[in-house]
Symmetry: C2
Subunit: 658 residues, 2 copies
């Protein structure tokens, strides 16, 4: 299936706030940052590097080896933004940057300011560490987004020349490098370039990189040995083994991989490309690998918030069911990559599970990362925070209790910007072959689809995440029948009512979607009401960190307890298994939000002598009844800094049904 | 009070196994290691370094900068061992080593093979990092132990010459270094040297080091700057601040310190010397600082096992109530240092709290560190182990699920050896002024005391830790009255019966001791029966890690659950608050031990679909009744590797008295 609906535009009470924030604040702010104009911030050097590479300015390269990708991600976000919100001034600025990028490109098509300015003789000698193809990939993604938004080919031509050059450098032929990048990204970008240009050779190159990965002898190991272990990160000589390349998902061929391992962003970017290639080529073996990796990652290595990667050491996966809440990593970029992967799997095979996970990551881990002013970010998205431990226990220094100015590290904020400004791409997929439109996310807006049955226009209005109520109206309808498939969210537990033009309507359930195939008329209204109620959720018994605990959820939202509402220590609190959860809209929270209240218990502490660490359990007094208040996880840390926890002790562990 | 009883000798059913192991296995094995004769082990180089420094052999220095201290700790352990178990062959070997050490000493008294062999021009230029006075201190401790055991002065003379030289180098006078070591140790050693020689100048030098520490401007900072930040550990230039010196307890003067901070072994070695000096000089301000630091450390920063130092980053304290069970450090050496400190506080003021902590650290953290063969050790003593996480989550790599061959790192095993071979020094203190003998630990053996009342001989027989039964017999009695003060262990909750010659006897309670002052006769028998029962213990509500959990204890022993008895995951298990705890002797465990059984519950898991991480709490079924078995913590990890936990969920969190 082609999958890409045309001209979706978001108009949604909940999401407009975020997409507006990205357009009005994040993109302009990032532009200032890229130009080193943010007071009190470390300079980015990113635009300056391009000016130096273009010969317009003298100086030394600045920033990380992958600094170019920040410019690319910004341009990509600009592209998405212009697609729905034309802005001539922003477009002019972008065109100037594109002109600069074109000037920095070499005659042979090569484009990378680090190697141009700092190490001109070292092109393609350190794929393992230097992110050379990674930066190329981001520039390709930017070019495609900008081209699709504006129709302007200049950057697309630049990256096509670059891609053609890369296609000459890499391959199985004599004199070609039979290798791949240490950080996956170009693979998914080449698929996009193929989509924009129709050129098969880009697809072939993507498949080459995917299929070479993990082949023996190991390219990244051999390359490192050829450099005698010289590293751009450390003085120490590197002597990696093939097994070490699990960090880069290059220890075994991708088709043989069964569990998510290594650096989590690298992993999900790669899986995304794998799913793309599986779909386009009908590659069943690759599709099977994608399903295996998806299952392992989302069922055994994913936090309830949609966070992945449980250790900050290498920003990596660890192993099944190891999901500590306090020493967690759950990087923002990794959840964004998980959303990319989920979207590609939906294009491969529309199954609600993929969309359930996509929604989970989006409404929780991803938007929690950004402050309500759009200028502060979490890179690590913990499920349990004790601010004093973050400050004073070095094993928890990486877990920040307060969002950091976004320019402190440059990878996550632009990733949030490009995701949210392209949010319209994640709402639907369409299958022209079966004349089916799938609604995966319930986010309001208008969309058009080209089906075999004819063109379809659809306006969605959604009351999510606060109410389980969605309305679709046919704004354009072909005469031939087609199917509308609405996701039955896992959180409604199968309780979802459909009405067409005001009358309850039956539906067929397929792969987690409510499917209605019929002849539609202009103005037809479909009302969709998945039951949305607050609930307590338990974790698998092998997730040691959550034993005896529950999380509060409501619809797509995960909730958390904050010190601001519940005092401290939060660990003293417990919730009865049969607690009545009361939802109420609280206008005082940023943007307004539904909070959940319950009668809970607090371990009493007045009977403790101040200066005793341990005492007989028999001395404890009855716990104290307390009001518990849970707020949406995405809002945590927007009030005074304090403790936060997603998982709460269940005080009636003896209960449960027979 | 002098505090040092004469000629105590251990004969104890429980402890003989350990002291025999040290004498018969650890000391000989360590000798082989020091001589690089252990197959498949990294060489120590320690003896070889002395041979090179002595001019007997050519070669380069090997091992850590503080490698000399391994030889010293071995000699110290040998000294203690010879004091109670003469062994001519061992003594001959020790004498040879002492000859070698004397040969390695410089004309001016200086002694350190690292600086002699590797950096002869850099003496006293890097006190911050190079452990120069630390190594000197260990050699002094060895010399005193060997002298007191054998009467031989050779090593004592060597260290006196060295100490006199150090006294010339360091001080407030012109041309002297007004500084101190980065790793405290010499301070407590100089106090011992004073005890052995009666020389006041050694005490004065110890006090100089203690009083200079943390003074402004900061010596360690200035010294580092004088070297332009050159480091022996890293290529990076160091630019430490005075605040950074909290790691070395040198950020503020010791008298102003209020909480345990920094590297935990450095801290407790320093506190030990502070308590010594406070006692000897009657320094009330210093005594008050000791009490403050003791209170903070033992009431807010100590694990229930007597472990201290909750992070492996810098092997350090973090802050109050931050006692994670899984990412714990709780280094063996730190608990040994805590025992030193407790012993010195008991000499300063006999209060049972010090002995309670000493007993807790000894019976739990310290002896758990050693395997039952004496050849494998834990450096980190966790309270919760998931072997797969230790292997696959880098944040838990430092927590080993299996004891390591002891020569892998050289600090903890020799420290265990010197503590256990001098265990007799920790059982009693005597206060000649008040004619009182304090029994702090209930460990069998014979002891002699010189009181004003006259010489006293006491034979203790103890059934601990299995039975709450201790028997003292007067083997020598003066005609004048004197007092016997028996510790009332915190674990008996005040329930302790005393009988003299078979008849119940009343006693006065003072500072946690049962005091009986009377005229004693040869053959008098005192029976002491502190009630020893299994109990559940809760942690302070601010210790987040233990919320809703309890530990099983019995007498001085902390218990733990192991996978070998209880299956996995242990996190699935819970114990009712009112569980009946049944104690039974289990001969099958190493050495035989009392285990504790209880009826508990296990979260059911059969209803979980294999591939779901999260589900509604309401779907859970009733927990399954299971038999729980707890074994003494000191025995953990002596069967097949598996999970272990000290803290267990309490399943009836609603209970407790009104």
């Amino acid at each position: 299936m082609s999958g890409k609906p045309e001209g979706v535009r978001i108009r949604d009470d909940f999401w407009d706030r975020y997409t507006d924030l990205v357009r009005e604040t994040v993109i302009p702010y990032q532009w200032e940052a890229l130009n080193d104009r943010i007071p009190d911030a470390a300079p980015s050097y990113a635009i300056r590097n391009f000016r130096i590479a273009a010969g317009l300015e003298a100086g030394e390269y600045g920033g990380m080896v992958f600094q170019d990708s920040d410019v690319a991600k910004w341009l990509e976000a600009v592209g998405y933004s212009l697609a729905t919100h034309p802005d001539p001034e922003l477009e002019r600025t972008a065109d100037e940057v594109i002109g600069l990028i074109a000037l920095a490109q070499h005659e042979d098509g090569y484009l990378n300011t680090y190697f141009t300015v700092k190490a001109p003789d070292e092109r393609w000698t350190n794929l393992y560490e230097a992110h050379e193809l990674y930066c190329a990939g981001h520039m390709m993604e930017a070019a495609v987004a900008y081209y699709e938004a504006t129709g302007k080919r200049k950057l697309l031509d630049v990256v096509c020349r670059f891609a053609d050059y890369i296609g000459n450098v890499f391959g199985e032929g004599p004199g070609q490098i039979r290798g791949y990048d240490g950080h996956q990204e170009i693979e998914l970008a080449l698929v996009k370039l193929h989509r924009a240009t129709g050129e098969e050779r880009y697809l072939k190159l993507a498949r080459f990189f995917i299929d070479e990965r993990g082949a023996q002898p190991n390219f990244l190991v051999d390359e490192t040995n050829r450099r005698d272990g010289r590293s751009i990160w450390t003085e120490r000589r590197l002597r990696p083994t093939a097994a070490d390349m699990a960090y880069n998902q290059a220890d075994v061929p991708v088709r043989e991989q069964t569990a998510a391992v290594g650096h989590s962003v690298r992993a999900v970017y790669m899986y995304t490309a794998m799913a793309d290639l599986a779909r386009i080529a009908g590659d069943r073996e690759l599709a099977e690998a994608c399903r295996r990796l998806w299952a392992n990652m989302t069922r055994k290595q994913m936090y309830i918030t949609g966070g992945i990667g449980s250790t900050h050491h290498g920003e990596a996966f660890t192993f099944d069911y190891d999901l500590p809440n306090d020493t967690v990593y759950a990087e923002t970029c990794a959840s964004i990559g998980l959303i990319f992967f989920a979207q590609r799997m939906l294009k491969l095979e529309p199954k609600a599970d993929y969309a359930d996970v996509m929604e989970r990551a989006l409404y929780n881990n991803v938007i929690a990362s950004m402050s309500q002013d759009g200028k502060h970010y979490f890179y690590v998205n913990p499920l349990e925070v004790w601010p004093e431990a973050s400050a004073r226990n070095p094993g928890r220094h990486h877990v920040k209790a307060v969002r950091q100015k976004w320019f402190g590290c440059s990878c996550c904020p632009p990733n949030v910007a490009r995701l949210l400004s392209s949010l319209h791409d994640y709402v639907y997929t369409a299958d022209p072959a079966s004349d089916t439109i799938y609604a995966h996310l319930f986010i309001g807006g208008e969309a058009r689809f080209a089906l075999a049955a004819g063109p379809v226009g659809l306006a969605q209005q959604s009351w999510l995440p606060w109410e389980g109520r969605v309305r679709f109206e046919l704004t354009e309808a072909p005469s031939a029948p087609f199917a509308l498939a609405l996701r039955i969210p896992a959180w409604c537990a199968g309780q979802a009512a459909l009405a067409i033009n005001g009358r309850p309507a039956p539906y067929e359930t397929k792969d987690g979607y409510a499917v209605v195939r019929r002849a539609w008329a202009l103005g037809d209204v479909v009302e969709w009401a998945p039951e949305l109620s607050a609930r307590l959720t338990a974790a698998h018994p092998d997730i040691r960190a959550n034993a005896g605990k529950a999380a509060v959820e409501r619809g797509p939202l995960v909730y958390c307890l904050e010190e601001a509402d519940n005092g401290r220590p939060l660990a003293s609190l417990s919730i009865p298994a049969d607690a009545k959860l009361t939802a109420a809209f609280e206008a005082g929270l940023p943007g307004g939000a539904v909070v959940i209240d319950a009668e809970g218990r607090a371990d009493e502490r007045d009977s403790w002598q101040a200066e005793t660490a341990y005492r007989p359990l028999a001395e404890r007094l009855r716990p104290i009844p307390v009001k518990l208040r849970a707020v949406p996880y995405y809002l945590w840390g927007n009030r005074e800094p304090g403790e936060m926890t997603v998982w709460v002790r269940v005080s009636d562990a003896a209960g449960g049904k027979e």
